[in-house]
């Protein structure tokens, strides 16, 4: 059996990669994908803990995360479509008018 800590470490690494993607990529679609990556890393943590504790509550939470991620993806991509229609670009550096 693989100990719990290994799962958690893997989760942390994947999360960190996702953070890097969010902060560094300029293409907004890819940023969004990196966000999904982060969510997934957390899902892994939840399921691992659920297994460790022998309870299914962690899995229930993952269920909800899945649902919310789906909703979020839908709405988010719709917003991107609107943004593209307005600005002709999906580059994060070019959509900064909400500034000081």
């Amino acid at each position: 059996m693989v100990p719990l800590s290994w799962y958690l470490l893997l989760s942390a690494v994947l999360f960190a990669i996702g953070v890097g993607g969010v902060l560094l990529r300029r293409n907004l679609i890819v940023v969004f994908m990196a966000i999904e990556l982060m969510l997934n890393a957390v899902n892994l943590s939840f399921v691992a803990f659920a297994r460790q504790l022998g309870a299914e509550d962690g899995q229930v939470i993952v269920f909800f995360v899945l649902a919310v991620a789906a909703a979020e993806a839908g709405v988010g991509l719709a917003i991107f479509i609107q943004l593209f229609r307005a600005r002709e670009t999906l580059n994060a550096d070019e959509v900064t008018t909400l500034r000081w």
Binding site: L4, F15, A16, V19, L24, N40, Q59, A69, F80
Partner: protein, 163 residues
């Protein structure tokens, strides 16, 4: 799952994740994302979360990423000149994210976890999960369904040409 299998799968997962983040073509990134999700689902199986495994493949890999691809195609998103910005930014963000991972690692290794116990039959099965959902977490369930409705309406409205 035995350790070797875990390490191999973990390595592959990490590679796929890096591919998502560093690819210049968004379509390739999406495909890398599918791989990552599929590999993750293997871990779910190892952790006896069968329903979640199925859902992950169906919802995440099957629906969400497909959605991504639709939008990429629709908007005809081109491959970028450079995937990542200037090295300075990369290094500092990498450092930050690395610190984050290290912090979690430290917390995790400091705690002494017992080894995983055996679980009963039906653990992680749809029946069990359904029972939990419809009894203890009923309110959240209902609210989530409303959330999905709202998301649908929102997506439709936001997707129109003339709002």
């Amino acid at each position: 799952m035995n350790a070797v299998l875990f390490l191999v799968l973990a390595a592959l997962t990490i590679a796929a994740a890096l591919a998502v983040v560093t690819n210049r073509n968004p379509v390739y990134s999406a495909l890398a994302l599918v791989s990552t999700l599929a590999l993750m689902s293997c871990f779910f199986v190892a952790l006896e979360a069968y329903l979640i495994w199925a859902l992950q493949l169906v919802v995440y890999a099957g629906a969400i990423v497909v959605l991504f691809l639709f939008v990429i195609m629709l908007l005809n998103v081109q491959r970028e000149e450079r995937a990542l910005p200037a090295p300075g930014a990369v290094v500092s963000v990498a450092a930050g994210a690395g610190l984050l991972a290290l912090g979690v690692a430290r917390a995790v290794t400091r705690t002494a976890f017992a080894s995983m116990p055996a679980v009963g039959d039906g653990y992680g099965s749809p029946a069990h999960l359904a029972r939990r959902l419809f009894t203890d977490y009923l309110v959240s369930f209902e609210i989530t369904s409303v959330l999905l409705l709202v998301a649908i309406v929102g997506a439709v409205v936001l997707g129109k040409r003339r709002v």
